[in-house]
């Protein structure tokens, strides 16, 4: 639609009382969505897909990290795509799946949260934000059924409970709270396996950052669609930390330092840190 199909006075939808959802307001203006166009199966591999995101809690809150690769079938579509975004001042969202739809979904979600905060004068609760994302995701069900699925992971610092929390989703808009850690995307199987062995409840921020890099390294090691740290082009994973002070996207120079340490350690131990055996035997 053209964004402003009116002249002069604002239409009545703008002045209608109640309604603090931007997405609902947009639907009211645009009318029912057209049915999603049919997409032949062979065309699906021509659509860029975003790959691996990991998220877990640590002592001060939660951390989310994503690799930088987008793929179209066996082609690398982009080397430096960003898939982890601040959703508002105390939450972050990461996306895997059809990149174009996913980035648009994140944009709508960001406006949705800010819109609510401005209309109501207070931000949504963390559960409220997680539920809104589920509702927006459900709006994409038509595309998802054709293979253009988007799978987000959402997390933030819950100011009411004083801790970091995270939520996973399925393509139908199902919302599930994760207790400690989660990963989505093509490399998520390897990421989850790695995360299970490396995760420690209550670890500090420095350990959380190096764990995030280790896990993404392991995912890239075994999944061709996940990009490892690109030392020659200096393209590193995006890491966002959320604590009681809000969201911080870690500066590239700081990430580079962590990446260097991890890569140096892998020079002598290519498979990364070794988990201790139950009997304490040597590896």
């Amino acid at each position: 639609m053209s964004p402003e199909p009116w002249h002069g006075r604002l239409p009545s939808a703008f002045m209608a009382p109640g309604g603090s959802s931007f997405a609902d307001f947009l639907a009211l203006l645009e009318g029912p969505r057209p049915a999603s166009p049919h997409m032949p199966a062979e065309a699906l591999s021509d659509v860029p897909h975003a790959t691996t995101i990991v998220a877990f809690t640590f002592a001060g809150g939660m951390v989310m990290a994503g690799d930088r690769r987008a793929t179209m079938g066996n082609i690398i579509a982009q080397r430096d795509i960003e898939k982890v975004f601040p959703a508002d001042e105390h939450s972050v969202v990461g996306i895997a799946g059809a990149a174009g739809i996913a980035v648009e979904l994140v944009r709508l979600f960001q406006v949705e949260l800010e819109h609510y905060e401005k209309i109501e004068g207070v931000p949504l609760s963390l559960d409220g934000k997680a539920n809104r994302l589920a509702a927006l995701l459900r709006g994409n069900l038509g595309f998802a059924m054709q293979g253009l699925a988007v799978v987000p992971v959402f997390g933030g610092y819950d100011l009411a409970e004083g801790k970091g929390r995270l939520f996973s989703y399925d393509v139908t808009g199902g919302r599930y709270e994760e207790r400690e850690h989660h990963a989505v995307g093509s490399g998520s199987m390897f990421a989850r396996g790695s995360l299970k062995k490396l995760y420690r409840a209550g670890m500090n921020e420095a350990d959380a950052l190096s764990t995030a890099i280790e896990v993404l390294y392991d995912a890239a090691d075994d999944d061709s669609a996940t990009g490892g740290p690109d030392l020659t082009r200096r393209i590193f994973p995006v890491i966002a930390v959320v604590d009681s002070d809000g969201v911080r996207v870690i500066a590239e120079s700081a990430v580079e330092g962590v990446v260097q340490t991890v890569v140096n350690a892998r020079m002598s131990q290519p498979d990364g840190p070794v988990a201790p055996l139950p009997g304490g035997g040597a590896s």
């Binding site: 402003e4 002069g8 939808a13 009382p17 931007f22 947009l26 819109h115 004068g121």
Partner: protein
């Protein structure tokens, strides 16, 4: 068949304007002024929840006097319009000028087309990257727009307040001096200077990235005004920021 009385269009417009002016004059006042670090909003408003000053977008804020339900309606419409534009185009494409235009059209249409005009006066302020880029639009109940410089006073005793501001305001005023001046001006309007607990204060802070709107809480306010913190307001008759308070 009865013949309707003839009332001249001039008389209808005059009656509506008088009605709106009287409604606005009953309410408490708001001062908006430019200071060196941005734009300052000071409202006489004992309510902590029903705001007269609000954020619209990254660099745009809204201040109003008059009937609460009517200016709240306009505020919500403004947030919807700004968010829609920012989402359809880009965040940088949301301007105070386009918002002021939409408000002017809407207020003008309400004034001419409906029997009861809105009893409101509003300011749309946009903080620029320098003082010269700041914009202050004052909109009245009939849809008139004025592009103001320096300061705006609205509400019951706007003329008395504006006289104090005209005397004391100068370019490059600091936040603290601007705040003291605004409170002194509001005092000249109502007879006694309002205490920190009776004020709603916010700024558009030029130096902030992205969302520049910040409310100034009562602790910080008392500190800036050099008054001891009055503590929570004693419970009493709930006051609304509506006119007639």
């Amino acid at each position: 068949m009865t013949v309707p009385f003839y009332v001249s269009p001039e008389q209808i417009i005059k009656d509506k304007a008088d009605y709106a002016r009287k409604g606005i004059a009953r309410g408490r006042s708001v001062v908006v002024l430019q200071f060196d670090g941005g734009i300052l909003f000071v409202a006489e408003n004992p309510s902590r929840a029903l705001h007269k000053v609000s954020e619209i977008y990254d660099r745009i804020a809204f201040a109003a006097v008059g009937k609460y339900n009517e200016f709240e309606n306009l505020r919500v419409a403004g947030v919807r319009l700004a968010d829609l534009r920012g989402y359809s185009y880009d965040r940088r494409d949301v301007t105070g000028r386009s918002l002021a235009n939409a408000y002017a059209q809407t207020l003008g249409a309400i004034f001419t087309e409906t029997a009861k005009p809105y009893e409101v006066e509003i300011v749309v302020a946009e903080v620029g990257s320098t003082v010269d880029d700041d914009q202050l639009y004052r909109l009245t109940f009939d849809g008139s727009v004025a592009d103001e410089r320096g300061f705006v006073a609205m509400g019951g005793q706007a003329d008395d307040i504006a006289a104090v501001l005209a005397d004391g305001w100068r370019p490059g005023l600091g936040l603290e001096d601007g705040l003291v001046l605004a409170v002194r001006a509001l005092g000249a309007g109502s007879g006694t200077a309002p205490s920190a607990g009776q004020l709603e204060v916010a700024v558009l802070d030029r130096s902030r990235p992205r969302r520049t709107f910040r409310r100034i809480g009562s602790d910080r306010l008392a500190e800036l005004l050099g008054q001891p913190d009055p503590g929570p307001e004693p419970p009493g008759v709930p006051e609304s920021p509506d006119s007639g308070a």
